[in-house]
Point group: D2
């Protein structure tokens, strides 16, 4: 069994796998983190890898991710590659004893995810998944208020997300569908803020973009959640938004509620013709700009301190089960209990 040993918590050697748009964002972020040093950038598009190397003043650029995972100068690997490659790359890191930060999900498949979780349990190598909302200062504040008991027993959870731009058809086909690809962020918040879910019932429809029907998917959906503690919740989603990125989350308890919402992008508002106006965020990169940095800072701080980073593989697995349950409820037109959803019965 491989183990993870950090040579110098003040000088962590990092490899970035994937130098696309989000990859470059993470490269720049890592370059500004005190105890992280980007050693290598890997991307099948070698020119992209070279650009990434230049940004971070890294030592190497390569097309081969396995080569950099094996590099003894690399302590931690940041995975920003297509979803279908996550599981095998995480597996290679676990076997090489390299700490992993990976974009979510581990996999779109329950059995595959479960296999990685089991492997991870056997190694103890630090693994953190990219549920960035958990690091947004608003969600952190919400979590504090809930965990402190100030809101009392939680009774209601509600969340909605509207993505600005629908994805390409090719993406739709391989995304696992809107429940797994998009509502999954709200399902993760439900678990993060309130706790585990017992049962769901979901409805969906194709209201504005027939490509989702072609992809056996929905462009609009709503899911009801029954939490183990009795609280009731609801998650709504739509895959386009003419007014920009629009997510809002509320948790209501016996003594108080907390709302996380971000209607205003800049600190400016203006007034004309008997009304006022302000700018919305355009999309997730501007809304979560700070969270993308904070999640990586937290990862490096955790491994430097010898702590287990979070959210980890088990969170990824449980959140995936919730998304799979919702998708199954939509497909089968019936409530689905979470205990029905197992790697053996994964659809």
């Amino acid at each position: 069994m491989s183990t993870f040993t950090l040579r110098d918590p003040e000088d962590i050697g990092v490899a970035i796998l994937g130098a696309g748009r989000m990859g470059r964002t993470h490269i720049r972020t890592c370059a500004g983190i005190r105890n992280a040093r980007v050693v290598a950038v890997a991307d099948p598009d070698l020119a992209a890898a070279e650009r990434g190397k230049a940004i971070a003043r890294a030592e190497r650029a390569t097309a081969d991710p396995l080569e950099v995972i094996a590099d003894p100068a690399v302590d931690a690997v940041v995975i920003v590659t297509p979803t279908s490659t996550h599981a095998s790359l995480i597996e290679a890191c676990l076997q090489a004893g390299k700490a992993v930060w990976s974009e979510k999900p581990i996999a779109l498949d329950l059995a595959e995810t479960d296999r990685i979780v089991e492997l991870w349990r056997s190694t103890g190598v630090p693994v953190q998944l990219g549920f960035m909302r958990r690091f947004d200062p608003g969600y952190v504040r919400a979590k504090e208020l809930i965990d402190s008991g100030e809101l009392g027993r939680i009774e209601q959870f509600r969340a909605y997300s509207r993505d600005t731009y629908p994805p390409p058809l090719e993406f739709i086909r391989h995304s696992g569908g809107s429940f797994l690809d998009m509502s999954v962020h709200d399902f993760d918040l439900a678990r993060f803020l309130v706790g585990e879910v017992e049962e769901v019932v979901a409805w969906g429809g194709v209201l504005f973009d027939d490509r989702f029907a072609e992809g056996d998917d929905v462009d609009t959906a709503v899911t009801m959640l029954r939490f183990r503690n009795g609280a009731l919740g609801v998650v709504e989603m739509a895959r386009h938004s003419a007014w920009g990125y629009d997510i809002r989350t509320e948790v209501a308890g016996a003594n108080g509620k907390v709302v996380v919402d971000a209607p205003q992008k800049t600190q400016a508002t203006w007034s004309r013709r008997f009304g006022y106006e302000g700018d919305h965020y355009e999309n997730f990169p501007d809304r979560f700009e700070v969270a993308f940095r904070l999640e990586l800072e937290a990862f490096f701080a955790s491994i430097a301190a010898g702590e287990v980073p979070t959210p980890g593989p088990e969170d990824a697995l449980e959140t995936l089960r919730l998304a799979v349950a919702a998708r199954r409820s939509w497909r089968e037109g019936r409530p689905v209990r979470l205990d029905e959803v197992t790697p053996e019965n994964p659809a």
Copy 2:
């Protein structure tokens, strides 16, 4: 068949039935309406009726509502009595040819409501029901934006309501339950803003107040709606709120969305210790103070102009069917189509 004839649209004689807390509010409002003159106040508690008479400088106070309905000086009747009396009082007014403004609902029973609607259709007497939210300037603005087409095709509806104080047990038992007594306001908004609903599925629970279980009712619930036009909706409710009256409504379309929310009671905010604060509304009387006046002004303006006031009995019936469908879904644990809910099959 009785008919309605208004002697003087500039001097409408009004009788108020019911001089409790809301009755007195409506009496004061009527006293300030230009073309309304309060002639009589009726209440089984004669002292209350006398107090109401004094407020409005009315001519008569009585314990007998039927007496004032028959009074030739009365053109219009404002009904603010307990729910169980609405149907028979409305019926008496229809037969006497007196215009009616009544607190909702007509009845908690579909067959009884249907009977009044049929009677109303045969008379043509103006009848308006007290769904006051439709007159709140925020909801009026929302309706304008939707009807103008500026939001595009409507895709999502969401509403939640939390009442500040749970009702007494006796009230719970005779209220028709939380779906009919409380979510009914959000169901009415759903119909007002988006249109008719095809199917619902509802979940409920008793999370904080066991008296609701005793009353065969829920204190917390969530209902999903599928509208005829394909839009998806959700209505949440809870029967207590430590932070005050809390209702929020959103309608999202292809081109835009509108939100009606009232987090701030006064125009003051204050700052201390690294944070800011403001006051919430305490309860529906302060939140809807203006709407309670506007709905009555609209009623008197409608009948003075010879127009059909709205929302009328058919709206009351359709909204009740929606609430009954949600209650049935909760009770039977299955989706319920609106066309299953008929006066012949009312439970």
Copy 3:
């Protein structure tokens, strides 16, 4: 010396002097007040008086205000006439022993105002002036926070007002100028919330409407205030506003601050094209709709309880002195101390 005796605190006979737009508003309000009964309406335009009488179901309409002041059925007089008539009408009421509610100011002239204040002191008849902002729930909340000591020692006051529509030239000429006609509301708030002022310095200009220059007036101004307690303040004003009525007031202390601002007219906001929007108030009648009612309710409650209503003549005098000081500072281009401004030295 006349005295004021109220025959029946539960049935106060009221005369309204002035049945123009604001007069009609006050008539409707009085009609809805529990212990007030409108007996008479006077207006030089008899048709207007008749319309006012009809609104309130009053007994008499007349062109002669002195006649109704003398009417024994009248306990209290509400003065909504042009500014130039306020002093003589208040004087007649004081001599007749009738309680007075009057639109501000008593007069635009310090000596005349002082004379009325002296007369009022000798009679003890209740007199309240129409500084309605003091009754707006936001300003009431601000006052509570300040008086409770929660904000600590007050250090800064800032206020600005922009009126939506500039007045007609004829009005400008007889208004006393923008400091007396418009900033006076903010000067009154300064005194109400923070206390007396020791010294002012004011600048003004004609930036957008040359008619103000013709009227020896300014359309835009700013005044600095030094309060007796050491606090510093600033009052800004402009006599047009393309975006609607715009007033904001802030009081900052050692421990906290309070802000009264009303950017949002209805409870609706909407989102389109990467931004959000909402409606501003159009003008003071919609912004202060509730305050116009509350100030009259407070007046009738005060006189029914045998209390001295507030703000009274002394407040009107002190606020006028502050406005006169600011106007003088603007005219003379120098700081002006409040103790320079006396009825003997009034310009």
Copy 4:
């Protein structure tokens, strides 16, 4: 005369002078900028310089700033040292032909500032000063709205700033006073957003902290501005704030206004006990976190593109003259025209 030549716009060698708290912030920021590479860190405290070097993976740490200015590997110098050293370090950079980004001000002394401006004019070396508010996305949006003409002719400017924590006495004594040290940021915004100022009048006081009196300074002040285009403005300041960092800026024109305000630190709000709450920013580092990055990104982008970075030395000089005028007005108790304030007549 020295000139500035950039060897490689994609790989700009940077020296950081000053490795204190703000210095370390700038080091981290530079490390994350694509075309900047931190070569050297200088600080009289060599341990601090070494820590700074480690953060950026720089090549050298030293106690001697002149040594790194002379280093041929250094193209640009970022000055984060005490105010009293700015002028001489900028001068050394100009003579060495190194681009300069420096914290404001150039100097607290007009003659010294003027001397540097003249030197800068003769060299053409790029120099940018750290008025970071100009890079905050809210202020950028405000500037766009004003420059586009959408607000019409500007009529009013208002700004206030409250710093959270008063500075140490030693700092007060050498800061140039509150007008030069603190209101200077609002004076710069006045010039940035509206234009040049013609005349000021300022009042100040010591309301809460007698150390400011010892330092011949004020802890609270207000300044009126008359702009050359006729607009009127006001700038308020206080040097403590119990509720956190509090700055707000408004520009009102004939057709519209824009407000930049940042009352809410995180995206969370919560509700309890009939009210709602949210967090304020604590201080300028959290309020302007993004602006601190954007101003440096803009600097490196400007010099890479061969453009003149802004705000430059002339802006620093004009803003200083405005602050000096306000300080002189406070000291002499009279309005001061900007054309009275020259290097020859600097007090």
